[in-house]
C-alpha cells in the first residue's frame, strides 16, 4: 500500500483526534475559532466535541474529524538501518580482525542535561531490554563521563582516550536545548581536530529527528528504543567499514 488515509472505523474514513488550547475566553466565537484551526489543518468536517474554559483567558478543545490529506508511504524519508545487526561475538571478532586494537568509545550527557538513564542504558554493563551495554563487549573500551559534561571537557577526554567514537545523549528539549548543545559539540570537534582525526560523532535521545544528522554536524542520530547492539553494530560498520 502506498497511499493511505487515517482509519477510524472504516477504510478510508480519514478520521483523526486533535486537542489544543487557544488563548481566548470560552464562547461561541472561540468554538468557531477552534473549528477554523481544525479546518486549516485539513479537517473537514471538524467536529468540536469538547470545549472547556481554563480560567478567563484560555479554552481547551477536543476536535474529531476527517482529514483530507493522503499519506504516501513511498514518499516517507526514513533512516533505514544500512548496516547488519551483529551479535556481540561478531562485533568483537570484527574489531579484532579489522582494527587489531580495542575500539575506544567516550560517552556523556552534555550541557546542563543530567538524564543519564538513556546513555547508561547504551553504555553500562546492565544495558536495556535484556541486552547488555557496550561495556560488555570485550573489544570496546568505554569511558562514560556521566552527566552535565561541558563540551571542552568532552573534547579533551576524547582526545586523551583517542576516541574512535563519541556518544552524546540529550534528553531535555525545551527551547531546542538538545539541538543547540549538539551543534556546539560538533562545532567544537570540528575546530579542535582535523577531519581525518575526528572521532565518529553520535547523538541520541528520545526526541531527536534521525534525519537531522547532517544539519547538526554529526554522523548518526539514535532515538527512542535504541538498543546497545544496534549502536555496537553501527560502530563496527562505520569505523571498520566492515559489513560483517
Amino acid at each position: 500500500m502506498t497511499i493511505v488515509r487515517p482509519y477510524g472505523d472504516t477504510t478510508g474514513d480519514g478520521m483523526v483526534q486533535l486537542s489544543f488550547t487557544l488563548p481566548i475566553p470560552h464562547d461561541k466565537r472561540a468554538e468557531g475559532a477552534a473549528v477554523q484551526l481544525a479546518n486549516k489543518m485539513g479537517m473537514d468536517p471538524a467536529l468540536l466535541v469538547h470545549a472547556k474554559p481554563m480560567g478567563d483567558e484560555f479554552t481547551f478543545f477536543v476536535v474529531y474529524g476527517r482529514v483530507n490529506h493522503l499519506v504516501d508511504t513511498e514518499q516517507v524519508q526514513v533512516v533505514e538501518r544500512d548496516f547488519p545487526l551483529l551479535s556481540a561475538k561478531e562485533v568483537n571478532a570484527t574489531i579484532k580482525r579489522r582494527l587489531r586494537r580495542r575500539l575506544s568509545v567516550v560517552g556523556a550527557c552534555i550541557g546542563t542535561d543530567a538524564h543519564t538513564v538513556g546513555i547508561d542504558a547504551i553504555l553500562n554493563l546492565k544495558g536495556i531490554a535484556g541486552e547488555k551495554g557496550l561495556e560488555y563487549y570485550s573489544e570496546l573500551s568505554v569511558t562514560n563521563m556521566g552527566a552535565q559534561v561541558s563540551v571542552p571537557d568532552l573534547v579533551e577526554t576524547a582526545r586523551e582516550r583517542k576516541a574512535d567514537a563519541v556518544l552524546v545523549s540529550q534528553v531535555v528539549t525545551q527551547r531546542d536545548a538538545h539541538l543547540q548543545n549538539t551543534r556546539a559539540m560538533s562545532a567544537a570537534f570540528r575546530e579542535a581536530l582535523p577531519a581525518g582525526k575526528r572521532p565518529l560523532l553520535i547523538v541520541g535521545g528520545p526526541r531527536f529527528d534521525e534525519l537531522m544528522a547532517a544539519e547538526l554536524g554529526v554522523d548518526r542520530i539514535f532515538t527512542r528504543g535504541t538498543t546497545p547492539r544496534e549502536v555496537a553494530s553501527y560502530l563496527v560498520h562505520a569505523i571498520t567499514g566492515s559489513t560483517s
Binding site: 482509519y7 477510524g8 472505523d9 472504516t10 477504510t11 478520521m15 483526534q17 486537542s19 467536529l47 468540536l48 466535541v49 469538547h50 472547556k52 477536543v62 474529531y64
Partner: protein, 520 residues
C-alpha cells in the same frame, strides 16, 4: 467471595418472593398469548428460510397468510402442516412461497385425527430445528473444552459497530486478538422496530450492523477461526430484542451465538414496543436461549441513562429480581443470567465511587451465582476523551473489586463516535492495567461495618422491597405505565406491535413450546 454487605437473608428472601408475586400475572399473560414473531420462530425452526425479492422473509409471508385465513389463536403449526399434507408439498419454504402467491388456503382441521397428524408432522419438523440448536450447543461445549475459557474473570466484552459486516469481522478479530473474550455486534438503529428479520450479509447499518442469520454465521465462523488461533473460545453476542425477539433467539441458537441481549422490559421502555407483545415474545425467546445454552444479558443499565443513577438505583434492583424470576420460569439457569447494571452516577457527586461500589456489590451479593454484566459510564461521558479514559479505569476497578462476571469495556469516545479501532485498543489496555495491577485488590476491600457502603446497599435494597410491594399491589403493567422504570411511561394498550398479539384459542398448539417445556 465472602459477603461484604451483611445483607439480611430474610429481606433478600422477601424481595424474591415479592418479585415472583409481581411477575406471575405477566407469566400467565405470556402463557396464554402468542405473537406473529413467536409463530415465525416456530416456522424458522421447522425449516422455513429465505426471503422474497423485496427481502420479506418467507416466514413472514406464511404467517401472514395463515393469519388471514384462520387467525393466530390456534398457532400456525397445525394449519401449516395440515396444508402441507393436503397440498402434498413437502418443503415448508415452498409452501410459504405458494401461500404468498395466494395458492394455498389454510384451515384448522376439523377432524381430531387430522389435527393430531399435523401436530406430529409439525413437531417432527421443529424437532429437527431444535436438534440443530442442540448440536450447536454441544459444539460450543466441545470447543470450550478444547480451547478453554478466558483465564480471568471478569470476561472482557467488546462491541463492534461499523454497520458493515465485512468491516465488523476484521475489527472483531482484532479485538479478540487484543484480549476480548466476548464480541458483541451492535445492531443498526432501525432494526428493533422491523417486524421481520432481514436476510443475508449486510453492509448498510446505521451505528450498528443488521442482525441476520447470515451475519451471525459469518461472524461466528470468523471468531471460530480466531478462537483456534488464540487457544481460547471467543464468545459472540447479539440482540434478541425488538419486534423479532423470538425469531432472533431461534437464529442465535442455530448459529451458535453465545450470549444475547434479552431483557424483559427494554423493548417496552426504550423502543415503545407494546408491553404484552414484549412479555409474550420474551418468554418464548428465553425458553429457546435456555435450550441453546445461551447466556442472556439484561438491560437495567439503560434505565440509568434516562433516570438518575442514585435516585433510581432501587429500580435496577427491582428489575434484576423480575428478570431473574422470568428467566428461571423460562428455564434459564443462574449461570445464564447476565443481569445488567452500570457505572452511571454523575462523577461530580460526592462519594460517587463508593456509591458505585455499593450498588455493584449489592447486585453481586443478591445474585451470587449469576455472571452479571457490568456496563461502563455512558451518560456522563463527554467529548473530553482524557477524562473519559480515566472514568473507564475507575469503572474497571469497581468491576474487579466487586467480582463482576462480564465487563463491557468502556470507550473514551463514548460521547463522540461509535468506537474506533484505536478506542478499543486504548480501552483494552485500560482493562488490562486494572486487572493486572489491582485484580486481587478485592481481598483488601472490606466495606466498613455499618459504614457508608453497607448503609447505602441496605438502603437501596430496602427501597427495592418497598417498590416491589407497591408493584404487587398495583400490578407490573401499571408500574410500567406510570414510568417506574427509566422514567418511561408505557401503558399496556399502547406501543408498537400490539396488533401482532393473539390470545390462545383452546386448541392452540406450538410444538416448540411443548418440546421446550417438557425438556428437563
Amino acid at each position: 467471595m465472602a459477603s461484604k454487605l451483611d445483607l439480611d437473608p430474610r429481606v433478600v428472601r422477601a424481595a424474591r418472593r415479592l418479585a415472583a408475586r409481581a411477575g406471575q400475572p405477566v407469566v400467565d399473560l405470556a402463557r396464554s398469548h402468542t405473537t406473529v414473531s413467536v409463530e415465525r420462530a416456530v416456522l424458522r425452526l421447522a425449516g422455513v428460510h429465505g426471503a422474497d425479492q423485496d427481502g420479506i422473509p418467507w416466514v413472514n409471508r406464511l404467517v401472514d397468510a395463515v393469519r388471514a385465513d384462520v387467525g393466530l389463536g390456534h398457532g400456525v403449526a397445525v394449519p401449516v402442516f395440515h396444508a402441507m399434507r393436503s397440498t402434498g408439498v413437502d418443503d415448508v419454504t415452498v409452501l410459504a412461497q405458494k401461500a404468498a402467491a395466494g395458492a394455498v388456503r389454510f384451515d384448522v382441521p376439523g377432524k381430531k385425527a387430522d389435527a393430531a397428524t399435523a401436530r406430529r408432522a409439525a413437531a417432527r419438523a421443529t424437532g429437527r430445528g431444535l436438534k440443530i440448536v442442540d448440536r450447536r450447543r454441544a459444539e460450543r461445549d466441545r470447543l470450550i473444552k478444547r480451547l478453554g475459557d478466558p483465564r480471568q474473570r471478569p470476561w472482557i466484552y467488546l462491541i463492534v459497530a461499523t454497520g458493515d459486516i465485512y468491516e465488523d469481522i476484521p475489527q472483531a478479530q482484532a479485538a479478540a486478538r487484543a484480549g476480548a473474550d466476548v464480541i458483541a455486534v451492535i445492531r443498526s438503529t432501525g432494526q428493533s422496530l422491523l417486524d421481520y428479520v432481514p436476510e443475508g450479509a449486510t453492509r448498510e447499518g446505521f451505528a450498528g450492523t443488521y442482525a441476520t442469520q447470515e451475519n451471525f454465521r459469518l461472524m461466528r465462523a470468523a471468531l471460530d477461526e480466531t478462537s483456534k488461533e488464540l487457544g481460547r473460545y471467543v464468545r459472540l453476542t447479539n440482540y434478541a430484542s425488538g419486534l423479532c425477539m423470538p425469531e432472533i433467539a431461534a437464529l442465535a441458537g442455530m448459529e451458535r451465538l453465545d450470549m444475547m441481549l434479552n431483557d424483559s422490559m427494554y423493548g417496552i421502555l426504550f423502543r415503545d414496543i407494546n408491553p404484552i407483545r414484549t412479555f409474550v415474545d420474551q418468554r418464548f425467546s428465553r425458553q429457546v436461549h435456555a435450550r441453546a445454552g445461551i447466556i442472556i444479558n439484561t438491560g437495567e443499565d439503560n434505565y440509568l441513562t434516562t433516570a438518575d443513577a442514585v435516585e433510581a438505583a432501587h429500580t435496577v434492583t427491582v428489575s434484576q429480581l423480575l428478570n431473574e424470576f422470568f428467566a428461571h420460569e423460562a428455564g434459564l439457569a443462574d449461570w445464564q443470567l447476565g443481569l445488567g447494571h452500570a457505572f452511571e452516577i454523575n462523577p461530580e457527586v460526592p462519594e460517587s465511587f463508593r456509591l458505585e461500589l455499593a450498588h455493584a456489590l449489592l447486585a453481586r451479593e443478591l445474585f451470587p451465582d449469576a455472571p452479571l454484566k457490568w456496563m461502563p459510564p455512558t451518560k456522563h461521558m463527554t467529548g473530553d476523551v482524557f477524562r473519559g479514559n480515566l472514568l473507564d479505569g475507575f469503572f474497571n476497578l469497581v468491576g474487579a473489586l466487586t467480582g463482576q462476571g462480564i465487563l463491557l469495556v468502556g470507550m473514551m469516545t463514548e460521547a463522540v463516535v461509535t468506537p474506533w479501532l484505536s478506542d478499543r485498543d486504548i480501552a483494552l489496555q485500560n482493562v488490562r492495567y486494572v486487572l493486572t495491577g489491582a485484580g486481587n485488590l478485592h481481598e483488601d476491600f472490606v466495606p466498613a461495618p455499618g459504614g457508608f457502603i453497607q448503609q447505602r446497599a441496605h438502603a437501596v435494597l430496602g427501597e427495592a422491597v418497598e417498590l416491589l410491594e407497591k408493584i404487587v399491589d398495583d400490578s407490573l403493567l401499571t408500574a410500567i405505565a406510570e414510568g417506574t422504570f427509566g422514567i418511561m411511561k408505557r401503558p399496556a394498550d399502547r406501543g408498537k406491535g400490539l396488533d401482532g398479539v393473539a390470545r390462545h384459542d383452546d386448541d392452540y398448539y406450538n410444538p416448540v413450546t411443548v418440546a421446550l417445556e417438557e425438556a428437563p
